[in-house]
């Protein structure tokens, strides 16, 4: 190996979804600093950082420039469109993207390792938790792009397969905060809960307006009618403060997780990247991605992307959120999601956890909305087959 090994860090730390991009950037940077400080590899990792500023059309070119700087491994991208933009570059250059965010599924590229949750690890178990407690008639609201469209479609499928009825579905342009008409619809239709796949300022505006509605009418108290989301972070909930209290989300990582691995991770973070005081799953997954790459490099002794990925698929890394493996067939992470309730001070309190790690099923082939109504075929019951998750209540 050379003295230094370049590693790409491709996140939009400015632009319309900068807060999420910054989480990924800081998580990856922390892991690189930690690995170098501890001398975990015989070489130093050298970050090759590029900021596409949230401009989808800039990703391919910047990915190319990372590869030209000698990097074979890239940690990056937040949105699905940006990931799809860099895939041709990865295919052409034989390089590898570690994608650290939850997404809507229906992809499985050989050059991408999906470290975030796919739908059978986010919206499906979240709906499973909520339907029995609050009712089966939601209202769906989302940002007008693929994450909102597809997550809401899966939710509709899931709800209708269980006799529920979607009381309304609304999409909001990215960045739009004019959501008064949707709150009025919620007030009139009184859904059992609201699935919120809005992102950024739209989501904050919606939660704020819903809180005002709840102040005026106790029927909209989150304890009776919560908002649920698969893409909230600790920082955005902290910015909303008590106005977000009581709403529910799902993720493999929460800052409040009570484990030795998380305590070590938080201590390292405070020491090496003190500016990141509220890490979310987006942060922890980017951090874990760099560590898995480094462990693969250490195990194989070379920087071949196929060798490192093969090593990662054999590995079982103790991430801040628990044991992390990469599923051999799909290149997606095997994850144990937790459902958490927002507290007063921007923290999340875990209320339920899946009993076992959930095997990723990015095409919802075996664990889709109607999975528990399909007869299991032979082989599906074996270890490693995705199954509808069973939740263990914590609170």
């Amino acid at each position: 190996m050379a003295q230094t090994l370049p590693i790409g860090v491709l996140f939009s730390t400015s632009g319309p979804y900068a807060s999420l991009g910054r989480e990924g950037f800081l998580g990856a940077s922390l892991a690189i600093a930690e690995i170098n400080e501890a001398g975990l590899l015989p070489v130093r990792l050298a970050a090759v950082e590029r900021d596409p500023k949230g401009n989808t059309e800039a990703y391919a070119g910047l990915c190319r420039s990372i590869v030209d700087a000698g990097a074979r491994f890239i940690v990056g991208c937040t949105t699905s469109w940006s990931r799809k933009e860099v895939i041709p570059v990865l295919e052409k250059t034989g390089t590898q993207l570690w994608y650290p965010c939850p997404y809507e599924g229906f992809e499985g590229n050989d050059h991408v390792v999906y470290v975030g949750a796919c739908p059978n690890q986010h919206v499906v178990p979240l709906l499973g938790h909520v339907l029995g407690r609050f009712g089966a008639d939601p209202l769906l609201v989302g940002s007008n792009y693929i994450w909102g469209w597809e997550t809401n479609r899966i939710a509709r499928d899931y709800v209708e397969a269980r006799g529920g009825r979607v009381k309304g579905e609304r999409f909001v342009a990215l960045g739009d905060t004019d959501i008064g008409h949707i709150i009025e619809e919620v007030r009139l239709k009184r859904p059992d809960f609201v699935l919120n796949t809005l992102i950024g300022p739209s989501s904050a505006a919606f939660v704020e307006a819903y809180w005002q509605l709840g102040e005026a009418d106790p029927a909209f108290d989150p304890a009776r009618r919560p908002i649920i989301s698969c893409n909230w972070t600790e920082s955005e909930i902290a910015a909303l403060g008590a106005r977000a209290r009581g709403h529910l989300t799902i993720a493999p990582y929460f800052q409040s997780l009570d484990s030795a691995a998380n305590a070590r991770f938080l201590a390292t973070m405070r020491r090496l990247t003190p500016e990141a005081d509220r890490p979310s799953a987006f942060f922890a997954q980017a951090y874990a991605a760099v560590h898995m790459i480094a462990r693969g490099l250490a195990a194989t002794g070379d920087a071949d992307v196929d060798h490192v990925l093969a090593a990662a698929k054999r590995d079982r890394y103790e991430a801040p959120f628990g044991p992390l493996g990469i599923h051999a067939e799909t290149n997606h992470a095997i994850l144990t999601p937790h459902i958490a309730r927002a507290g007063d001070a921007g923290s999340f309190e875990v209320v339920a956890s899946t009993e076992q790690p959930i095997v990723p099923d990015p095409y919802l082939a075996r664990s889709g909305p109607a999975a528990d109504r399909r007869p299991a075929t032979s082989g599906e019951a074996g270890a490693g087959a995705p199954r509808p998750p069973h939740l263990r209540l914590v609170k």
Partner: protein, 207 residues
């Protein structure tokens, strides 16, 4: 424009002289499609997001459209009514997006990113699927019309039974003979006997 390709076995299909629409934001994928179309002798025309009003759709041999960000309002035709072979450009395989492309009407698809090939095969498949779709639509239309007129046939048969003292089978045979003599469909002849407007005067090709 005749969009049917003369495709006798062993012939080499050509699209030379055709025009094609590309409905996709400016992108490397569009550049790749344009390069291939020019090689095939097809003149590409790129539009985004909407097709301009007043476009003469009869001038175009095919449309390539974005399935990722596409929506019905971009097109002057309604869902399922695209008047030319349509090829979806698919990036996201999320079923919601694929379902939209199917609903909108697609005869073939290409996965994004489009590289140095694939356009020619996609055009051939799309033209065949479009031609089959048109033939089926026409055949179904004719059959539906005939089905709608079956009451007239029953009435005409009953009238012949009564007027000429025939059995049901013979009355029907008589009706069919009259239709053949007049070069009409049975339904057309029945309509004429019933004094109805001759909407059923289809060419009775199989008589």
């Amino acid at each position: 424009m005749n969009r049917r390709l003369p495709l006798p076995d062993g012939a080499t299909p050509s699209f030379v002289g055709q025009r094609a629409l590309i409905v996709h934001r400016p992108h490397a994928t569009v550049d790749a499609i344009v390069r291939q179309l020019i090689q095939l002798g097809i003149t590409p025309e790129c539009h985004w997001p909407e097709l301009p009003a007043g476009l003469d759709l009869t001038l175009y041999g095919a449309v390539f459209f974005d399935a990722d960000l596409g929506h019905d309002a971009q097109f002057p035709w309604g869902p399922g009514a695209c008047p030319m072979p349509a090829i979806a450009l698919i990036g996201s395989e999320a079923p919601g997006r694929v379902a939209w492309a199917i609903r909108h009407g697609t005869d073939a698809h290409l996965n994004k990113p489009v590289g140095g090939g694939g356009i020619y095969a996609a055009l051939l498949i799309a033209h065949q699927a479009f031609a089959r779709r048109q033939e089926l639509r026409q055949a179904v239309g004719e059959l539906e019309q005939r089905l709608a007129q079956r009451e007239l046939v029953a009435a005409a048969t009953a009238a012949l039974m009564q007027a000429e003292g025939l059995s049901a089978a013979n009355a029907y045979r008589r009706l069919r003979r009259m239709a053949m003599d007049e070069r009409l469909t049975i339904e057309g002849m029945a309509a004429r006997l019933a004094g109805a407007t001759p909407t059923g005067e289809l060419r009775h090709d199989r008589a």
